[in-house]
Point group: none
Chain length 224, copies 2
């Protein structure tokens, strides 16, 4: 398990880092939000622990950007301010927990373990969500229906997560491109269709008659 720690006060950072390492976690440490995002992109840790007030990019913004590509990785906030408003904003952004300073070592560990336990059930493959009879393991980059397991790429997982998050509603083609490719990406060809095609070949019982990823003409795609 790798945990990303972002905190601009070196003393607190060191203390937390040591504490987590004692507990057997691998750690990545960042002194500001920019660094945190870089480390996230590169290493994809299993949990993020973010200070709110940081130079350059604050914790909330880091959370927002991470959530754009990963809807489920657990994110915990640390806050010096004892303001209730922060808690509400943070949890509203999709954070999992909110730890107020001053905190004790035991409390931080307990909250981190609780978040990990929730998000990574002990099935050996990490997180899991399901769509009909398909089970998706985003961290293991794989999915299975019945006995058959298939490997997925990061982008495919990201597409499935987006669909899952919006189950029941159509996800527009633009939304796919924005979330799974990036806000500044505009492919001039059949890229998205091609990826949907691949996904269907991998996960549908009968790719010609899609049951999981339905096409919504003129709009996009939909799960459920």
């Amino acid at each position: 398990m790798t945990i990303l720690l972002a905190e601009d006060d070196p003393l607190t950072l060191d203390a937390l880092d040591a504490c987590l390492q004692d507990e057997g976690f691998r750690t990545l440490v960042a002194a500001d939000g920019k660094q945190a995002l870089e480390l996230w992109t590169e290493h994809r840790p299993q949990l993020l622990c973010l200070d709110i007030m940081m130079p350059e990019i604050d914790g909330f913004e880091v959370c927002r950007r991470v959530r754009a590509t990963d809807a489920a990785v657990p994110i915990l906030f640390l806050s010096a301010k004892n303001e209730e408003l922060d808690v509400v904003v943070g949890l509203g952004l999709g954070a999992d927990d909110f730890i107020r300073k001053p905190f004790t070592r035991a409390e931080v560990i307990a909250r981190i373990r609780a978040a990990l336990r929730r998000s990574y059930p002990a099935n050996g493959r990490g997180r899991c969500f399901s769509m009909q009879d398909l089970k998706v393991y985003p961290d293991a980059l794989m999915a299975e229906r019945g006995e058959k397991g298939v490997e997925l790429t990061r982008r495919e997982v990201s597409m499935l997560e987006l669909l899952h998050r919006n189950a029941g509603l159509p996800v527009s083609r633009d939304a796919f491109l924005d979330v799974c490719w990036g806000l500044d990406y505009f492919p001039d060809s059949r890229t998205l269709d091609q990826h949907v095609l691949m996904l269907r070949k991998k996960i549908e019982a009968d790719p010609a008659r899609p049951a999981i990823i339905a096409t919504v003409r003129g709009t996009g795609y939909r799960f459920g």
Copy 2:
């Protein structure tokens, strides 16, 4: 969404109950652990919010017993004691969050919503309005009457929305074209009629005797 509240202080209980109901949740209230377990067994609420110190059976024990049958239902603890040990024990028992008294209304709601979001990913169909016994989901591009669901195109949804906004009043053919097609569009044929025909086929119980989209001769169409 039904939430079980267990708390032995009547004042706190009432305040929380009112607050949750304001937010649109159904609530079950228990004054002690025994009652809480009974309500849990009978109604299986989607979330539990437990005080720790309660007569007969305390919150920890309730949590333990619930977890014996359901490993996933979100459980939040409320605690008057500001003891860090409780946090550690509670989270260790498989609780999802731990709210320290005194708490504010906004924080409780935020934490409850966060827990629900984690455990029950959205699978709704977005907005909804109804026309007689027909339910229309404009975001999902769908409608249903009774059990039968039909898919709609964007233009069809747009026409239904226009009719619904003007329920009781006739909508002129020109208005349809302006709103659903565009101010600068002038079809030179039976386009609009054709679309009304399609809509009636999809949503009317008896398309030959329209009950939802009525014709107003010389003017246009009307709902209601």
